[in-house]
Symmetry: C2
């Protein structure tokens, strides 16, 4: 059995008893019934995934994967490809948005190079892990983005990162990414999985103009035609039109479920990974939180199609795991309320009038 | 000149130059232009209110006001009136939701009794301030909820609490409340100010049934008729159908603007106070943040009518300042990004393709 199969076999069902017990405690706390709204659902889902009616929290970890994309050569991004490695350095040196949030919230930040064009492994970048599957994917207009073996390796890289985070005590893991042109790959993956037309999925990414936008939609349409016979399953979709970081984030989703650790998806590109994980292992989305609804392309439509509700709506479209980090902070606040609020009987507060 | 007039005279215009400078720095940070979405607006509004292009943050304070309401006697709440004082004790002793969040986020918590039926000033309740304007308001179906002088005193109590918070270093202040039946008073205030019909404003509060709901709408309609000649200005509206804690929260809004400190409104009842402050001093809403859209009654409709956008939408309806606290935490995160992210030039990251 390989790592992906092993991981899938380790996934236990959600613990509805734990969720129910957490719900009973929520109802005993000094507040009107249900008045914490979505925070109550969050606590119950956390308990169900953790298989822990106490919903105990140890620490949060952010796993961020960085890779390049051959399809950048098709002129689908507002920024040059060099920005991928430049941002890898910026993340590692603490200046990127996700670095600031990880520090601010006290979350571990695990950054993995899964295939940036420029190899930085000889530089001294603090805390970057190297699991380079290649120097970026191939342009998926000219063939598969990656080989089936590379697709498996990408998912393995995510599983390993998640297992590492869990071994360091994480009970909540966020996924994020950086990779110039990866909103094109993510839109292609999501079009293949959901059947939504590329024109409704593609967004402005880092800020492309109308001409580039038409090009981007055309690229996705062409790719879906070219690879139509390989898009029937998750691994085939990943290999055909995906990216190394998208595969890795899907791996984190699978490994989180296997370790009973909820994973928090970030925006559009992380949602493509979550949808892939759910395609590989149906029902997996129930083990995840969707951190926010991004302003990128058809993210709101995708979330609706997947029947999932995002925690935050802040019109962000930055990626890197920033929306996931903010949502993880909110989840932690919900858990603090659950753990620390007094009960009606404990505080001597009267219940409703009968 | 009395305290309210003095406070209003001290309000300076918003500093659009500070907002502009903050915007220029936001555009220089290593992220696609505008990709932090609403967080960028938050930083700019904070800079404009603070009159500080650096948008520096010292600390957050939560000001929570507790009072009873004569209209509770009309059977408009699911909980007995005794819950107000019981929850005052619970907040003071650290078991209420707002106590947990203040501790968790490291915000000062300033609780003021502005008119609870039971006087607890002889008990040893840590950190509760007493500015008791009366043992609760009168039932506003039988006359004004309070005298004009009491209305001024309620606002004064809020101004004093805000000034106290500012003197302790607060650069961001949240407002919250507790008071059985105060969603009825808030709905009456909001109906008077916005012209929205009571049936579209009134909500389930702490969880009333259909019969109580019809009663609640009837009570508000009757009150608006009874007091129709006193609802033309903010102070008259507060005195006729308001509450001591609603007046106090309006006072915090005014004093925050005067001290160049942004105030974060909580849910339905705090929004009634914010709307009152904006009625007393037109344009005041621009100095405020609206923390969340509550699930209570017509809160979403009110926010739309006031042309303001809430930061969070979590279907919460707990009050106490809980939504404000969560939003303050998010504002603080936005400021951390603003202060700590690297610039394109500083981090050696390429800009967009020309």
């Amino acid at each position: 059995m390989n790592l992906i199969e092993e991981t899938m076999c380790a996934i236990k069902p959600l613990d509805s008893e734990a969720a129910k017990h957490a719900g009973m405690r929520l109802d005993s706390l000094t507040k009107p019934l249900g008045s914490l709204g979505n925070l109550e659902e969050i606590v119950q889902r956390y308990a169900a995934v953790r298989r822990d009616p106490q919903a105990s929290f140890r620490r949060g970890a952010l796993t961020v994967f960085v890779a390049d994309h051959g399809v950048a050569d098709a002129g689908v991004s507002a920024y040059p490809k060099a920005v991928t490695v430049e941002m890898l350095r910026n993340i590692a040196l603490g200046g990127a948005a996700i670095s600031v949030l990880a520090r601010h919230f006290g979350f571990d930040l695990l950054v993995t190079d899964v295939g940036v064009e420029t190899d930085t492994s000889a530089e001294v970048l603090p805390a970057v892990r190297y699991r380079r599957i290649g120097p970026g994917t191939r342009n998926f207009l000219e063939g598969s983005a990656m080989s089936p073996e590379q697709a498996r390796k990408a998912i393995d890289a995510g599983i390993e990162a998640a297992n590492h985070a869990v071994s360091r005590g994480a009970t909540l893991i966020g996924i994020g990414e950086m990779g110039i042109a990866n909103s094109t790959a993510a839109a292609a993956v999501l079009a293949a999985i959901t059947g939504i037309e590329p024109a409704r999925l593609a967004g402005r990414g880092t800020g492309i103009d109308d001409a580039a936008m038409r090009r981007k939609v055309g690229v996705i349409e062409d790719a879906l035609k070219l690879h139509q016979h390989s898009l029937r399953d998750g691994l085939g979709t990943l290999a055909s039109v995906g990216g190394f970081e998208i595969g890795a984030m899907a791996g984190v989703c699978l490994a989180g479920a296997a370790a009973s650790v909820p994973v928090v998806a970030d925006g559009f590109i992380a949602t493509a990974a979550a949808a892939l994980a759910d395609r590989i292992r149906p029902g997996l989305r129930d083990y995840l939180f969707f951190g926010h609804c991004s302003a990128e392309g058809g993210h709101a439509l995708v979330l609706e199609t997947l029947w999932v509700r995002p925690i935050l709506q802040l019109n962000m479209r930055l990626g890197e795991g920033t929306g996931a980090a903010l949502a993880m902070n909110l989840i932690q606040s919900a858990l603090a309320l659950f753990h620390q609020m007094a009960t009606f009987s404990g505080a001597g507060v009267s219940g409703p009038i009968k």
